[in-house]
């Protein structure tokens, strides 16, 4: 049976779905009976979702336009 430390060590891989089926079962068995680890898992998963959703998906249009203006100056032999 997995203890908290072993689950924590695999937490990142588990969140990324990069664990074997056997490991997954061991982790899930632990999470089902350990409130502490289950909160850490749930809040880690949600952390990544919040991070991904709150940062700009890419360069804003104006930023992209200024970049391409700069590049064209470079192509033309300017700075």
């Amino acid at each position: 049976m997995f203890d908290c430390r072993q689950v924590l060590a695999e937490l990142s891989n588990y969140v990324d779905d990069e664990v074997t089926l056997e490991l997954r079962h061991a982790i899930e068995e632990h999470l089902a009976r350990c409130g502490r680890c289950s909160v850490v898992y749930d809040t880690t998963r949600r952390t990544l979702k919040i991070v991904s959703g709150s940062l700009p998906p890419g360069a804003p249009l104006a930023v992209s336009e200024r970049l391409h203006v700069r590049l064209r100056q470079l192509f033309a032999g300017g700075a």
């Binding site: 924590l8 060590a9 937490l11 990142s12 891989n13 969140v15 990324d16 990069e18 502490r36 909160v39 850490v40 749930d42 809040t43 880690t44 949600r46 952390t47 990544l48 919040i50 991070v51 991904s52 959703g53 709150s54 940062l55 700009p56 998906p57 890419g58 360069a59 804003p60 930023v63 992209s64 200024r66 970049l67 391409h68 700069r70 590049l71 064209r72 470079l74 192509f75």
Partner: protein, 227 residues
Amino acid sequence: MRQRTASDEDLPLVDRALAGDTQAFEDLVRRHECRVFRTAVGLTGNNEDAEEALQDTFLNVYQHLGEFRRDSRFTTWLTRIAINAALQKIRRRKGNVSLDDPEVAEAEFMPRRVESWRENPERLYAAEETRRLVEEAILSLPPAYRVVFVLRDVAEMDTVEAAEVLGLTVAALKSRLLRARLMVREALAARFAERPVLKSRLVQAGMMVKQAVAAGLSRFPRQNGEE
């Protein structure tokens, strides 16, 4: 990595750009500018530095494209340049910044806040406020951990390529990623956990109910005794 290099879908554009086709270079930029910008925002924590880093990155790529050796993917090479450009912006503000592992003590990343979070806690804040909280949480990481977190969880690069960009083994990258994620979680938990104030009020209210019930119950035996 020879196989992955062979399937590098950027190489045709790189070849055309090297032959002087500026449109091909712009296409290459458009293909990657969003990811480079996101990487730079994650590392620097603000749009202004990220925009400068974005421009520096692609100006550098244009000037040094001939030095791109095809022993790695184009994106691996590009991302290294982007990281350096972003680090220069950070150094301008904060002095020297090293990507060497600072050997973070275990106490620094072991979970401390283990209270559950509210439903959709990010909705409690305006979008800009959530973004600021997230940026501050990422900026609080030591640079060696921040860069791993940004490549994997902000720029969404895969583990193998992120390890190659940073010259780390996959195992070392994964170990830093776990710690980085736990530290970001900890930083956000302070804002997204159930409010301690509310919790203590609930406990208080619970105690009052208990006392009231106990007081009420204590009357019963007396009443019974009177009968």
